[in-house]
């Protein structure tokens, strides 16, 4: 008897779901973080303006979330200067604040704003840097994230990753067999969640294109797994593969010209490389075991993947030209879904420790293997594009939630969605399309 599959596809970023906002709580860490004061920004126009104070709040929340900074609570500020000449550095020194951020928002043409901010070294009483950034009401939060990036980079020497986004899958059940699965994209702080695909069939394995403009994913609509590529700006999508059997685990090459993927069309799961423009396929692995979950090295010369060719799933590495894979993971009896840190030096993966599934990192030079999470069913780790954090899926009670840990293991945080299960987070790359919302 034929089954009918209902499918509703909501394509395009223009469609806003009444998606609940993610909230983030830092569950561990903050010792040794740099004390900083971010004063609420002032509005310099007449009458009701944009929520200028929010700019400072977003900046402070970003810096706090990184685990590297400890922003002073607004209530503890002895003064709230918004201009350089109003700053009293002695007050701030008394509070042991090392850096100060002040700023304002002013009108800038029809519908436009100009955000200015200044970063000070409190001890020296000097301005370190200052920027003027044109924006709009819609992009005010995005501008705040960019300010946080500039501050983070100025003070830590490493680029920030606040003005990036995450893709993730949500699932809500209504009744025993009814499930709504959605692929969503939100800002890296969980705000502005938008649904880009919605279905009653499974959606899996989102993967950002290196330019951040497209997402590849697996969808089971019409009871057949297929790999799709969807343009974020327009919502247009294209089916890349729908062979008999598995069509899974898409992964873009660093230059975006190729896509590694898993197909079982020849009998069992092997990894193939597709030339995206030509749609031509070549096999990368040929083995009677499960070979899946390919991930590219940042230099594009090799890939890692999961294989149980040795009897249990482990991580193997193979040249982009094929050949004999070499085993990379040796710790424990279960290691899967590896991916590289942005500098290529580390891998993150799912590992089994005493029957618990956790997130681990493996330093490819020192061979240092570290378990980074404490859950029971942790999965899908993904590096931030600056390598500072890992985001992954875990469980809190009966719900799937997202969590993040700093790569040094110091700061743990949990991202909570109000309803449903959240899973398979993937951090976007740096290069973003112009926002068009």
């Amino acid at each position: 008897m034929k089954r009918f599959y209902f499918l509703v596809l909501l394509l395009g970023l223009a469609l806003h779901a009444k998606a609940s906002t993610l909230t983030i709580e830092i569950t561990q860490g903050l010792e040794g973080a740099l004390p900083i004061a971010v004063v609420p920004f002032a509005w310099r126009g007449d009458a009701a303006g944009p929520p200028a104070h929010e700019v400072g709040e977003v900046v402070a929340a970003d810096l706090r979330r990184s685990g590297r900074f400890k922003p002073l609570a607004t209530g503890e500020m002895l003064a709230r200067p918004t201009r350089g000449e109003e700053v009293d550095f002695r007050d701030l020194r008394a509070l042991n604040v090392e850096n100060l951020v002040i700023g304002d928002v002013s009108p800038n043409g029809p519908g436009g704003y100009l955000v200015k901010f200044y970063l000070y070294d409190v001890f020296r009483g000097e301005q370190i840097t200052g920027f003027s950034m044109p924006t709009t009401a819609r992009d005010l939060r995005a501008t705040a994230h960019s300010i946080a990036d500039i501050i983070y980079e100025t003070l830590t020497g490493q680029p920030g990753a606040f003005a990036t986004r995450i893709a993730y899958v949500t699932s809500e059940r209504s009744g025993k067999d009814k499930e709504r699965v959605e692929l969503r994209i939100a800002d890296a702080d969980g705000y502005n969640p938008q649904t880009i695909v919605s279905s009653e069939e499974p959606i899996m394995s989102p993967a950002w294109s290196p330019d951040g403009r497209k997402i590849a994913y697996v969808s089971f609509e019409n009871a057949q797994p297929a790999i799709w590529v969807q343009e974020l700006l327009t919502g247009k999508r294209e089916k890349m593969t729908s062979f008999k059997g598995i069509n899974g685990a898409p992964a873009w090459s660093p230059d975006g010209r190729f896509m590694a993927l898993t197909l079982s069309k020849d009998g069992n799961p092997d990894i193939f490389i597709m030339d995206v423009a030509r749609r031509s396929l070549r096999p990368l692995t040929r083995h009677g075991s499960i070979d899946t979950e390919p991930a590219w090295a940042p230099d594009g010369k090799s890939l890692v993947f999961t294989s149980d060719r040795g009897g249990a799933p482990q991580i193997y590495q193979v040249s982009v030209n094929g050949g004999e894979p070499t085993r990379v993971s040796f710790e424990g009896k279960y290691n899967a879904r590896a991916s590289f840190s942005p500098n290529g030096r580390m891998l993150t993966m799912v590992t089994r420790v005493d029957g618990q599934y956790r997130i681990a990192t493996l330093d490819l030079e020192t061979r240092d293997f570290r378990v980074m999470s404490t859950g029971r069913l942790d999965e899908s780790p993904s590096f931030a594009p600056n390598g500072s954090m890992l985001i992954y899926a875990t469980r809190a009670g009966d719900k799937g939630v997202l969590a993040a840990v700093s790569t040094d293991g110091r700061v743990q945080q949990r991202l909570r969605l109000q309803e449903g299960d959240v899973r398979e987070p993937v951090w976007s790359p740096y290069h973003q399309q112009e926002r068009n919302r």
Binding site: M1, K2, R3, F4, F6, R173, P202, M204, S205, F220, A223, Q224, P225, G245, I246, G248, A249, T262, S264, N268, P269, I290, T292, E293, T306, D308, A312, P313, Y334, A336, R337, V350, R352, Y357, R376, L377, E379, S380, R395, D398, E424
Partner: protein
């Protein structure tokens, strides 16, 4: 959905009446089996005089064919001996109904990574398919799909639920 369920109930009731059974709407062992197949509509079966099953043999609760799910051990795709008879019954059914097709779903429990579990689920679906093929079922009658851990039958996060989710399902 509410109006739908009352429609199914109406169909179910009429089926019961047609079968000449109790009109209270309750189902007993000798009564009609009414199966709701979701959006594709309801199918009803009746028993003829003398207790001989005249409906679709796949819906006969007293037949091995009624079982359409078999379970697997952790990280395994070997057919457990207790399910051999069920699969043989399905093979016999498919062999005597060459126009019948079956979709074999393979599933995994939630532990570990999702795409690897898709691989495991496929291995289970293929194990069922190979068994049926060895019993003479034509390749063209069988299709497989792996849902990995994406379609759990039990929603718990413990051994009991995991055991229910490591399964192969025959969908006709």
């Amino acid at each position: 959905m509410k109006s739908n369920s009352s429609a199914w109930l109406a169909i179910a009731m009429s089926a019961l009446l047609f079968a000449g059974c109790s009109s209270t709407g309750t189902k007993d062992d000798t009564g009609a089996s009414v199966e709701d197949r979701g959006s594709s509509g309801a199918t009803t079966s009746g028993i003829g005089a003398g207790g001989v099953w005249t409906g679709n043999p796949l819906d006969n609760p007293n037949s091995l064919l009624y079982s359409k799910t078999i379970y697997f051990d952790f990280d395994q795709s070997t057919i457990r001996s207790e399910f051999v008879d069920v699969l043989r019954a399905h093979a016999a059914y498919l062999n005597s109904n060459r126009s019948a097709n079956v979709l074999i779903e393979g599933h995994a429990d939630e532990r570990g990574s999702r795409e690897y579990n898709i691989g495991l689920g496929e291995r289970r679906a293929n194990a069922v398919k190979s068994f049926l093929a060895a019993e003479g079922v034509d390749d063209a009658q069988m299709n497989t799909i792996s849902y990995g851990e994406e379609r759990p039958a039990a929603l718990g996060h413990d051994e009991v639920s995991w055991a229910e989710n490591r399964r192969g399902v025959l969908v006709y």
